[in-house]
Amino acid sequence: MLSKRFGRMAAGSIAGAMLMAAAACGGGGGETGATSSAAPSAGASSEAPKTGALKVGLAFDVGGRGDKSFNDAAYAGLEKAKTDLSADIKELSPAADGSNRGELLRQLADAGYNPIIGVGFAYGEDIKKTAEEYPEIQFAVVDSASNAPNVTGLLFAEEQGSYLAGVAAALKAKSGHVGFVGGVENDLIKKFEAGFDAGVKSVKKDAKIDVKYLTPDGDFSGFKAPDKGKVAAEKMFQDGAEIVYHAAGDSGLGVFQAAAAAKKLAIGVDSDQRQTVKEANLQPVIMTSMLKRVDVGVFEFIKAFQGGAKGGANTVYDLKVDGVGLATTGGDIDDIKDKLDTAKQDIIDGKITVPTKP
Amino acid sequence: MSSDTLAAVEPAVELEGITKRFPGVVANHDIRITVEPGTVHAIVGENGAGKSTLMKILYGMQKPDEGTIRVNGKEVTFRTPSDAIDAGIGMVHQHFMLADNFTVLENIVLGAEPKRAGMLDTARARKRVTELASSHGLRVDPDRLVEDLGVGDRQRVEILKVLYRGARILILDEPTAVLVPQEVEELFQNLRELKAEGLTVIFISHKLDEVLSIADAITVIRRGTTVASVEPSQVTARQLAELMVGSELPTPETRESTVTETVALTVSGLTMEAGPHHPGVPLEKLRQEGARLLLDDVSFDIHKGEILGIAGVEGNGQSELIEAIMGMRPAHGHIALDGADINEWSTLKRRESGIGYIPEDRHRQGLLLEASLWENRVLGHQTRAPARRGIWVNRSAARADTERIVKEYDVRTPGVDTLALALSGGNQQKLIVGREMSGEPKFLIAAHPTRGVDVGAQAAIWDHLRNARAAGLAVLLISADLDELIGLSDTLRVIYRGRLVAGLDPSHVTPEQLGGYMTGAITDTAEES
């Protein structure tokens, strides 16, 4: 009798543990980051902070370091600060359920780190609270706006990069039919759509653009659903789209698979996905990728802090500082380089203003 | 003491100074038994005297702490039952270990299949089984499914199974417990044939008449040690019983009638379907539709001060009858307690209204083994004094009342906080009887009230039942022990395939007659008592 009960309990706990793991995968905030940073940080190890002038703390989002994506890109920027600015650095990952984001920030603050960077919009609220508690410390948050005097919002002009992606797509798509797959229908991803849309229309006024968001605002599973991405892209290719641009995180893999199956092309996002996608058969379909240089953002913020900059505002990383751009791996867009450079220069010069809302 | 050995032949089994220290049950202490080959040797003793432990030691399921075992003169050490099987010892368990949906043949060879090129060699297996069956007079059809067999047939399959593995020494653990008298006689015939073939049978029992009729030698165990070795011709059943108990023997006689005119419980037309219950469907319609009925139109009255005994082979509707009366399973028909229709009442309300229940399986239905004695006292009385005080369990009152039961019913325990499973079967049963007699019940269901308890506890329980009956309690007694039924009951009914087939007068009926009704061999509806 005892052993039977124990067996049931053990089975129950195992089932629970499995579900726990599943929940951990499904929960947490997503990111637009797809795969790998420009500078993978293999072998980098953190050291105990020395009593130096610059002690930089960084808190990752769920998934933490080693996600070959957003978090790793941020870490690359942190590492650059260590090499170039001789900063002491410390990076922390939250628990799988993300319950201790605030605690991590406070622990960094208590340990004397300044500035402190939260990676990902999920830190928005926690950064605000912590910043109010530690007014003497400077904070930054990636992908979320400044919401306290000592918080810098590190934002990216995704619409500008997407504009260039749109120009490239329009030039390459003979029929003028392209598509956009967004992971989650929130303001951030809408910026991608708006820029892409403007870029395409700047080349071909009558171009047809299919738009599909995988999940509505607030449901971040759209960033982690390659199956949904695949279905959406398949539909677009069937309808005649030649190139599909995705801003859908991990779901982008499905877009690439659909493109490979339809023998069409796709545009990646965040990092140079032609390099980071593991499947060799998918690499050639990635015409280019819209780069979002989180590493640049992190590094530039640290550098500015060292120069005495204070928070309270957002810093937007745009084409001017190469915070966004297009990847050229594979040489698929080398033939239209001139036109892209012209568009880029026009944006930098202010001749073109890219909209942020579609 | 007469355990003189014949010098010429080596004893088949010789146990010397077997001691087993084992917490909780009566340990074996300095057991000495000599079993001559080609005999039926009975080992008798009360439940809990240490017979089972001894058998487990002999069958390699447990290792003795001290002492030696010699088989055919050779000293052996058994680590597992397979060691014992290798030494030619086989065990026929009290509870059959057969796969119901296999044929007899498959069951016999299961685990020792003759193989040819990795496949079951059915032809060879069949030949061997048929040989064994005919040479030992154990007639069974090898191709029948075990689920279709009766109890006696199943037992023969068990014996064949043991013989098939080459056993020359058979241990039979309480083999007659599940048999009706006719089947017992058949079993004994088989055993005599086995003996004639030169096999040795060790026969464990506490049914002394049977032991006296079949055994060539008898060893009596009491409190874990061998107290006597006797020959059946030299003792009477009564002497043997006194050896077992170590004191005067009780009898279940209750001749002076206390039956009153007042009806306590009326059961009429009680019918239960095997499948899902269809409320409101009349019996005729159920019969027409060919529904399988577990209870078929069962009706009886029990008066105050009356014990109504229900005899029957297990599985003929006894459990269902109890479940229907207790309200644990829906049934058609009417049940009235003290004139009040209780059909719609919950089990709890029935209990509160004065129905007590000594369950047939105390571990399954009667006790919370992992709870203390006083919590077990509360069980079934959680809504009544003394266990209840408003929404609370009245712990001190429950404890005090458990102390009372422990004293009045002679429950041997270190205290009322002891867990129920630490007690021996007899003491657990006495606790249950004490509990069910608490709160002045009007009607008591006593299902196998003395099953698996020692003779001392049995006598005490019988006394309590008799006293309660004298005080006006109506009792429904369901038992497999025919002596108990005949001795205690004022009225006897036989249940067969869900129907009450006979009403008998316990003062005239014999166990053989009862057995005839129980097995369906006698079908005429006998005279009402």
Binding site: M9, L19, G29, R106, N147 | G366, R412
Partner: protein, 379 residues
């Protein structure tokens, strides 16, 4: 020694032995991960250098323990009856969002507002647990399967509600979605005075959650209910031996329904410490997975409120070290390894110690039997 005390001491000894063994096993894992066990265990015990850091660390540990404790209680109510309410996860999430939303709809004095929110959470959790209970008693659907399925429904329903009907105003530039912020009268007062009265600095963040007091009262109340009342007795009887309970007049259907609803109602409170004490809304950052952790906590705590409290504190203690471990360059997954091994070993230790205790009782009962030796009769 009284049997009860002996059993309790044995249990504690078993748990301590299991934890020591778990530490040894975890050390091997830490070495395998290329870190030093010494550094790891120092990090676990390092609550910080400054007073404020120590206060913050203690607060983090307690704040983590509070929802885990409630989750453990919720699971334990079912476990006691051999009911596996895996659905605590879904129940608390759906209850949390409903309570957060309802609480944001009105403003009343704290002594009304907070109890109403707590009540809403308990009712929603209880009703959500009623679904699998009804399915079990009417159709015999296994509660494990039903609750797992209902978890998915609840999680997705909560995600839908928070971005749809229940969504609140979002601060400029923020991407997280939340329900409308609760009025200040719904903010549960913190217990920071526990620190400040000793001259210590107040903890940062949401402070020491005042819901701690509710949790303690809940634990005591549940203990009284389970150990002292008739209902508790029926639960225990049903759990230990359902057929004996049935034969004793305990209605199994009523018991399944009431135990599941009670379990769900308690589960409904799991999210409230966080919502009332810190976040003041239900949002996409709401802590998930507490229901599943509750299973581990209940197992560790042997389904007894006192044990669950210790288990929750142990989990809180381990989880707190997430940051310090990383400061010490030890992979924080050590925490999960330790939690897993501790749960497993403690369950095994419980089994062993309860068997030892049973043996001892049997021996004592047998001795009692031996004292009443009747007079032997000569053969």
């Amino acid at each position: 020694m009284p049997a009860g005390l002996y059993r309790a001491l044995l249990t504690v000894a078993g748990a301590v032995a299991a934890i020591i063994l778990a530490i040894a096993i975890s050390s091997v894992a830490i070495i395998a991960a290329g870190a030093s066990p010494g550094a790891a265990f120092t990090a676990f015990l390092n609550f910080g250098e400054t007073e404020r850091a120590v206060v913050n660390s203690i607060t983090t540990m307690l704040n983590r323990a509070v929802p885990l404790f409630i989750a453990g209680l919720a699971v334990a109510v079912g476990f006691r009856m051999n009911l596996f309410n895996i659905g605590v996860e879904g129940q608390y999430r759906i209850a949390a969002i409903c309570a957060a939303f309802v609480g944001s709809l009105f403003t009343a004095p704290s002594w009304i507002q907070i109890p109403v929110i707590i009540l809403v959470a308990a009712v929603v959790g209880g009703l959500y647990a009623l679904i699998p209970a009804v399915m079990k008693v009417t159709r015999g659907v296994n509660e494990v399967i039903a609750t797992i399925m209902l978890n998915y429904i609840a999680i997705n329903l909560a995600a839908y509600l928070v971005r749809g009907p229940f969504t609140g105003k979002r601060a400029e530039g923020l991407l997280t979605t939340t329900t409308p912020t609760l009025p200040e009268s719904a903010w549960f007062p913190n217990l920071n005075w526990l620190f400040t009265m000793f001259g210590l600095p107040a903890p940062r963040g949401g402070g020491l959650w005042g819901f701690l007091i509710v949790a303690v009262l809940l634990g005591i109340g549940l203990w009284v209910l389970l150990e002292r009342t008739r209902f508790g007795f029926d639960v225990k009887a049903s759990g230990l031996n359902s057929s004996a309970a049935l034969a004793s007049g305990v209605n199994p259907k009523t018991m399944v329904i009431s135990a599941m609803v009670l379990s769900g109602a308690i589960a409904g409170l799991i999210g409230l410490p966080e919502i009332l004490g810190d976040k003041h809304s239900f949002g996409s950052n709401f802590t998930p997975g507490l229901g599943f952790l509750g299973i581990a906590v209940a197992l560790l705590g042997r389904n007894k409120p006192g044990g669950i409290a210790i288990a929750a504190l142990l989990f809180g203690f381990l989880d707190r070290a997430q940051g310090p471990l990383q400061f010490a360059s030890v992979p924080p997954s050590v925490i999960m390894i330790m939690q897993g091994t501790i749960v497993l070993l403690v369950v095994i230790a419980n089994e062993i110690t309860s068997r030892i205790a049973l043996r001892r009782e049997e021996r004592r009962a047998a001795q009692q039997l031996g004292r009443n030796t009747p007079v032997e009769v000569a053969a």
